[in-house]
């Protein structure tokens, strides 16, 4: 690997994102989203007949659902940005001139990943913190760990970005993008199955959830984001019976992801990039 070449490709990717107005489109959509959620939370806080912990619980669920939509937007962005990042550039000849330079294929893959990761993580954090600030301002709701939630969402986007990029080394952009989006959905459903398995103490469902998290750990990170967006434990305790109803909701996480699972997420990304590199090396140009 050549650090200089990785840096050049990463910077090229960033410039392309700016020039092709990807970032500007995301910023425009975020402004709309933040304005809409600000209005929604203002109204929700004003109109809900509930007070105290119960109101906090309702607002947290509303915030989690908006975060879920945001994570879907991030997934789509990762898929659309990463799926055409390698394969089409091989097919149209753009990479021929680049790879004839002192540049390895792994430099291109890693450079693309770094550039797109900077775009996605930067956008996730900026939009996420802005959203949380507006929600706090308009409704007074402050989740248990507002600083960590956008980090989980950014990490989830990174997993799906990696998935789309790895597949883009070998298959058409439409297919690799679709795999990332469908993978996101399947992993989420696998997580729900695991959650139900936990609740019902059913080993089959629990195992299905574990396998889903091993194959594609995006839901692990989503659960971390959900937990961080929930009210603090004392508020949940105060909400009593109402809080217990929410524990079976697919938009509720009782605990944060264990460190071992977070380590698996990091290992998964590294392993996927290694596999992507092997696939790209074996591809005929």
């Amino acid at each position: 690997m050549n650090g200089g070449a990785v840096f050049v490709i990463a910077r090229l990717t960033l410039r392309e994102a700016f020039r092709r107005r990807l970032l500007w489109a995301l910023v425009g959509l975020t402004v709309l989203l933040v304005a809409a959620t600000g209005w929604l939370f203002g109204k929700a806080a004003e109109l809900t007949p509930l007070e105290g912990g119960a109101q906090q619980l309702v607002l947290s669920q509303l915030l989690v659902m908006i975060a879920f939509m945001f994570s879907f937007v991030l997934t789509m962005t990762a898929a659309f940005a990463a799926a055409p990042a390698i394969g089409p550039e091989i097919e149209n000849g753009l990479l021929l001139a680049v790879l004839a330079r002192p540049v390895r294929r792994s430099d291109v893959l890693l450079g693309r990943w770094v550039g797109l990761a900077i775009v996605l993580v930067g956008y996730s954090l900026a939009a996420g913190y802005l959203e949380l600030a507006v929600v706090a301002l308009m409704s007074g709701y402050l989740p248990v760990d507002p600083m960590v939630a956008p980090l989980y969402l950014a990490a989830e986007a990174l997993v799906l970005l990696t998935l789309a990029l790895v597949f883009s080394t070998r298959i058409a952009p439409v297919a690799s993008g679709s795999i990332a989006v469908v993978g996101f959905g399947l992993a989420w459903m696998g997580g729900i199955a695991g959650g139900i398995g936990d609740y019902l103490d059913n080993d089959s469902l629990r195992t299905a959830g574990t396998i889903a998290h091993l194959i594609l750990p995006s839901d692990t990170l989503w659960r971390g984001a959900m937990f961080a967006l929930e009210p603090p434990p004392d508020v949940l305790a105060a909400a009593g019976a109402q809080a217990r109803i929410f524990t079976v909701s697919p938009f509720f996480a009782g605990t944060p992801p264990p460190l071992t699972w977070l380590a698996w997420c990091a290992a998964w990304i590294v392993a996927a990039l290694v596999i992507g590199n092997l696939l790209l090396r074996r591809r005929e140009l």
Partner: protein, 353 residues
């Protein structure tokens, strides 16, 4: 008859390059298979330093595959090769190579200047040299006035010119041009020939993959002709085109053909005698003999074929145009003078009688 100035110059440069430099490109039984399809069956060739080397072959002969192997863009399934003294695909060596792909495409959202700056950076050129390199390359390919325009506004021909500029950055020792004029008009092709000429004058090795035979004939010192993934001929351009004979325009001598026939197979072509297989050393003797018998010799020119004729004959796709001639029976003069000349065919089964 044994060499054009270009060929002699290349040979001299190759010698001047010295034994330590070695050839620019050397392959031995290079093989590439895609599944069951054999793209290269065993490519063996040598490209000397400082020469303009033409790489010819019909569609599907494996030319572009060979180029990709040389540049490390593809991995061989057999054989070996060295480029500028290093194994094919050596990453560091790529700094010394310029490449214009057949399928040329550059970042459409960038300006021409930005594309060149990107390649300066990828080629790890000193940043202080970038400006000079970019300005010179743009001027050389005729894009100086479009340097700040985006590539997406360029025509196909302008993009190919840009590709050529990219290939010339950093004063490479070897420039690989894969069909460099496929999108160019006649003026552009002339420009490319001039650029190749200037590279030759700077002792830069040029590996030219082209199916435009007239282009190759004009600029190359040596060529390799590939067919079905193998080199069927690798020789100097003069050697390739030279029939090894002369054409003599002679008048005032009956029986000139008989006299010339003593020097080699001869046929009468109007006022001209075509004498095959005569060596350079014997040409003065032929002229003396004709003059001694009272003939007036107006011109003596080496017999040459076009590259296309030679190319087709080597590939067995057309008759070998050099006919067999019985030397000693052709009477001189006029159209009827060709009576008695036997014309045969060397290889084509569908030959005319």
């Amino acid at each position: 008859m044994t060499g054009t100035p270009a060929g002699a110059e290349a040979a001299s440069r190759a010698t001047a390059a010295g034994p330590f430099d070695g050839p620019a490109i050397e392959t031995h039984e290079l093989r590439k298979q895609f599944g069951r399809i054999v793209a290269l069956a065993g490519l063996t060739m040598t490209v000397r330093r400082g020469e303009v080397f033409g790489f010819l072959g019909p569609n599907g002969a494996g030319k572009t595959t060979a180029v990709k192997l040389l540049l490390g863009l593809s991995r061989p399934t057999g054989g070996e090769g060295r480029v500028l003294g290093s194994p094919m695909g050596d990453v560091a060596t790529r700094r010394r190579i310029g490449y214009l792909p057949e399928l040329f495409r550059y970042q459409s959202w960038m300006t021409a200047r930005e594309v060149l700056a990107l390649h300066c950076e990828l080629a790890r050129l000193d940043r202080v040299s970038w400006h000079g390199e970019i300005v010179a390359a743009l001027a050389l390919v005729g894009l100086a006035d479009r340097s700040n325009d985006r590539v997406e506004t360029f025509s196909k021909g302008m993009q190919q010119r840009l590709g050529l500029a990219v290939a010339l950055l950093g004063r490479p020792e070897l420039v690989v041009l894969d069909e460099p004029t496929s999108a160019l008009d006649p003026v552009g092709r002339q420009d490319v020939r001039e650029i190749i000429g200037s590279l030759r004058s700077r002792s830069v090795t040029v590996f030219l993959n082209s199916h435009l035979l007239t282009e190759v004939e004009r600029v190359c010192d040596r060529v390799a002709i590939v067919d079905r993934g193998r080199v069927v001929a690798e020789l100097g351009m003069a050697e390739l085109l030279d029939e090894g004979g002369v054409r003599v325009r002679v008048s005032g001598l009956t029986g000139a053909a008989s006299i010339a026939g003593r020097f080699g197979p001869t046929r009468v072509e109007g006022e001209w005698l075509a004498v095959d297989s005569i060596t350079d050393q014997r040409v003065p003797a032929l002229v003396s003999e004709l003059v001694a018998h009272g003939g007036f010799v107006h011109a003596v020119v080496p017999a040459r074929r076009t590259l296309e004729e030679r190319f087709l004959s080597l590939l067995g796709a057309a008759p070998d145009v050099a006919p067999d001639v019985t030397p000693d029976v052709a009477p001189d003069g006029g159209p009827g003078g060709e009576a008695g000349v036997a014309v045969g065919r060397s290889s084509d089964p569908g030959a005319r009688p």
